[in-house]
């Protein structure tokens, strides 16, 4: 049914690679971070080769995630500016997740939920970097009261990040056809029509004007 010529490119190969580098570093960070967060999860430290290796590697992987994430975010931020339509879309989330999509505002390249995630991630990533550096005793020395705040906030930011990424991953699984956007880089016209109609129309206009 799907004509391959008609597939729409959503992400370039480099963007996809970058996305999965962020995802890989996130998984390693979440697992090693949880190992240090709750004693019941200390066994997860085995992933990186034990507690000491976890302590050594976790911050470096954090730097990788930070750099990788921001080089990706810089390419996407223009498409993530909030509009009145996005706010209306957010109000209609209960409809979206229960398959009643009539009357839901059309989404651009990203819908309101994705844009919220985008900006939440920006804030969390910055917060995690700053608090993480404050806690990185091997290389930095800061007043202990500052480190206490950093430790608490680092855990809080990380916890919100993990929840946000669970929602992100779930949305990718629930909305069929999304994962291939990040594996193959393309989506079908029907997918773009259903989920990002405004973006689809723009794509069509742009391609017909060529």
């Amino acid at each position: 049914m799907i004509n391959e010529d008609k597939e729409i490119v959503r992400y370039t190969a480099n963007q996809r690679l970058n996305h999965w580098l962020i995802a890989l570093s996130f998984v390693l960070l979440a697992i090693s971070g949880l190992a240090l967060f709750h004693p019941a999860l200390f066994w997860l430290s085995n992933l990186l080769g034990g507690g000491t290796w976890t302590r050594i590697l976790h911050p470096f992987i954090g730097v990788v995630m930070f750099v990788s994430f921001f080089s990706f975010a810089l390419q996407l931020w223009r498409d993530n500016r909030m509009t009145a339509d996005d706010r209306a879309w957010l109000k209609a989330v209960p409809k979206v997740i229960s398959h009643q999509e009539e009357g839901v505002p059309e989404a651009g390249r990203y819908n309101g939920g994705q844009k919220v995630l985008f900006w939440v991630l920006i804030v969390l990533m910055l917060g995690l970097l700053v608090s993480g550096v404050l806690m990185w005793r091997t290389y930095f020395t800061f007043p202990v009261e500052l480190i206490r705040w950093a430790s608490m906030l680092h855990a809080l930011f990380a916890l919100v990040l993990v929840c946000a990424i669970i929602v992100h991953a779930y949305a990718g699984i629930w909305v069929k056809g999304s994962v291939r956007a990040m594996t193959r880089g393309t989506v079908t016209p029907g997918w773009a029509w259903k989920h990002h109609r405004k973006w689809y129309r723009k794509k069509m206009r742009d391609s017909s004007l060529k």
């Binding site: 709750h38 507690g51 997740i97 009261e145 206490r148 069929k176 029907g190």
Partner: protein, 323 residues
């Protein structure tokens, strides 16, 4: 860690009980070291004894203009004499010398903060001991300590501090600093006995005009197994910043307390809500109708574009004719 010699009461990052079948009630409130600051002459014999017994050698440092030497505790100097000059209201100068080191809190902030199982243990007699084999070098113990005691080694990145000579106490001996002290300023025994001894010392100090003499055994950390007799117990800060009301920071308590179960529950709940949603609501799938609608929309756009292009050409032609 085998604990044949001394039973373990608390173990870091461990959610199940420590072996407790042998635990008999600890006599006399556990052990305690009593440091009578009023009897200390600042000879630093305790520092030397500590280094000798524990086989520690610190780097030779530089004189920084005060008698404190080394200037601070390090991974190799588990105890340091801190000298502070205090001018009393009547103009008299007092030298307040405090032997700084681990206080062996009944509720240890280091143990609360430590993420590595068994890296910090508290023995039944109250001694708080670091087990460097399990230490991962994260420094959380430093973050948790209200007394700024643990030090991370620059070479092996492990945390070190006074262990109250646990290996000596285990075989019925007193810590090395206690044994060496030439003035009897440091004594060791059961906590109850040390409190009795402190009472005598305080009575003596009061009779000599130190009305505020008293025992430093702060409640905020559940009491300590290292206690001080201070001539100015109302102002412990005079003794090189000994905290007046030490307790585990509220931020650390939150981070290592309710944040842990609430945080993990929030993550698990988020995942469960997702799973429940997937099961209750079929996934969002693109239908044939969507593909068709998309096709029509694309055709419409192409048509409009073609019309627009045709109009444009027509207009250009008209312009050409006029020109």
């Amino acid at each position: 860690m085998a604990s044949q010699g001394m039973d373990i009461k608390r173990r870091s990052a461990t959610t199940t009980p420590s072996p407790s079948v042998r635990n008999s009630p600890v006599q006399g409130g556990g052990v305690a070291k009593l440091i009578d600051v009023s009897q200390c002459i600042g000879c630093k014999a305790c520092q030397v004894a500590c280094m000798e017994w524990n086989d520690l050698r610190d780097e030779v440092g530089h004189n920084v203009g005060v008698y404190d030497n080394p200037a601070d505790m390090t991974e190799n100097s588990w105890t340091v004499m801190r000298f502070s000059e205090y001018e009393k209201d009547d103009g008299d100068l007092e030298w307040l010398i405090r032997k700084d080191g681990c206080m062996h809190c009944e509720e240890p902030g280091c143990l609360t903060a430590c993420p590595s199982p068994g890296a910090i243990v508290q023995h039944a007699n109250g001694i708080v001991d670091f087990n460097q084999d399990s230490c991962i070098g994260c420094g959380y113990c430093v973050t948790g300590c209200p007394f700024d005691v643990p030090r991370i080694s620059k070479t092996d990145k492990k945390a070190y501090k006074c262990n109250l000579c646990v290996d000596r106490v285990e075989v019925g001996q007193e810590p090395a600093c206690v044994k060496i002290c030439p003035t009897g300023a440091i004594s060791f025994g059961s906590k109850d006995d040390m409190k009795h001894h402190a009472d005598e010392r305080i009575r003596d100090l009061k009779s000599r005009g130190y009305d505020n003499a008293g025992l430093y055994d702060p409640d905020g950390v559940g009491g300590t197994h290292v206690m001080y007799v201070l001539h100015h117990a109302d102002k412990p800060q005079l003794y090189s910043g000994l905290p007046k009301a030490p307790k585990i920071s509220a931020i650390v308590s939150l981070w290592k307390g309710p944040a842990k179960p609430i945080g993990v529950a929030a993550m698990v709940l988020t995942a469960l809500v997702g799973a429940a949603h997937y099961i209750r609501n079929r996934p969002s799938e693109v239908t044939k109708a969507d593909e068709l609608a998309a096709k029509h929309a694309a055709e419409l756009v192409a048509l409009q574009a073609a019309e627009l292009a045709a109009e444009k050409t027509a207009e250009e032609e008209r312009n050409d004719q006029r020109g």
